[in-house]
């Protein structure tokens, strides 16, 4: 856990980045990028989430490996749930 006090400047910097990205993702959704609309929207969301986890939740500067392991396992099992279910749904009506 954090003993490390981060400068408020950095917090404001992250905040502004998150704000800009929110506006960008909303604006980009009106432009036709074909299948890339979804990819862009989810990439921006993931980038925002990473910023929040690393800086607001102090995972970058003030956490041990164990915290990262907990996050990684949660995501790993989430991916298992989504991907193994999708194997069924994507192939159910083939053949």
């Amino acid at each position: 856990m954090s003993e490390h006090v981060m400068s408020s400047k950095m917090y404001y910097g992250i905040w502004i980045t998150l704000m800009v990205l929110t506006v960008v993702t909303a604006a980009v959704s009106f432009i036709d990028l074909g299948p890339f609309n979804t990819i862009v929207a989810l990439s921006i969301a993931t980038f925002k989430a990473i910023l929040v986890v690393l800086f607001f939740m102090h995972v970058k500067y003030a956490s041990e490996k164990l915290t990262k392991l907990v996050i990684a396992s949660a995501l790993f099992f989430l991916v298992l749930l989504l991907s193994l279910s999708m194997i069924d749904y994507l192939t159910r009506y083939l053949a």
Binding site: V5, M19, D32, L33, V53, F56, M57, F77
Partner: protein
């Protein structure tokens, strides 16, 4: 990894906040922090069940998801995203204020967080009310006749649209429930911050409350594009 916790048996460091079975404040802090992260991992899977349903039905019924998404108010959605990210900033600054022992600043930041959190819930209530007026709430009076008229080129199936709105209400509802719990949590933290419970030596509850709040924010960061931004491009 092998941070074998118990070093000595000395209890002189036991302040009022240190529970009997811990040896040091540091051990206690590391312990509850890990517990919070594990709890957040369970929350990932809790929302994960709904994300799984969303992924499947969005693949199957894309047209209805696109139309349903268009019927959501993107302005209110964006404003709410901004509000929630703002509240994450005030929480992060609040933890910093606690670390530096600035009591007044901490209280102000926590109050700001509460205001922003309640604003989010207020905006959400307005959006839900709009859906009620439009008959978009699943149930007996559900109808998407308006969307069928507005987007003839999408060939909307009323039944599939009801699945979209079921997921919309389940996901935003569960998120809002977490926000309500968060507001309750922060009321408690604000009261204690005002009483001066927290300072550079003891600010664990603020840190943990913050982790929870940021997590709920991250869920929304995903809900926003998944629900509001499915398909906004000009229709041919």
């Amino acid at each position: 990894m092998s941070n074998s916790a118990v070093q000595t048996e000395s209890h002189e460091s036991h302040g009022p906040e240190l529970l009997h079975h811990f040896v040091s404040a540091e051990q206690q802090r590391n312990t509850v922090s890990l517990a919070m992260w594990l709890f957040l991992a369970t929350e990932v899977m809790f929302f994960g069940g709904m994300f799984c349903a969303y992924l499947i039905y969005r693949t199957w019924y894309y047209a209805e998801f696109a139309a349903g998404s268009r019927s959501l108010n993107i302005w209110l959605g964006t404003v709410n995203t901004v509000v929630l990210i703002g509240s994450s900033l005030t929480v992060a600054l609040g933890v910093r204020a606690a670390q530096m022992g600035k009591r007044k600043l901490l209280v102000v930041l926590l109050l700001l967080t509460l205001v922003l959190g309640l604003t989010f819930l207020g905006v959400k209530a307005i959006e839900w009310h709009d859906k009620y007026v439009e008959h978009h709430i699943p149930g007996a009076s559900f109808s998407v006749a308006d969307l069928v008229r507005e987007y003839p080129q999408l060939h909307i199936d009323q039944r599939h649209a009801q699945i979209f709105f079921s997921l919309y209400f389940a996901m935003t509802g569960m998120h809002a429930l977490h926000m309500v719990i968060g507001v309750g949590l922060f009321l408690y933290l604000t009261y204690h911050a005002w009483k001066g419970t927290y300072g550079p030596k003891y600010y664990t509850p603020i840190e943990l409350g913050g982790l929870y709040w940021h997590f709920v924010d991250i869920i929304w960061i995903y809900l926003f594009p998944l629900l509001y931004l499915i398909d906004r491009k000009p229709l041919k």
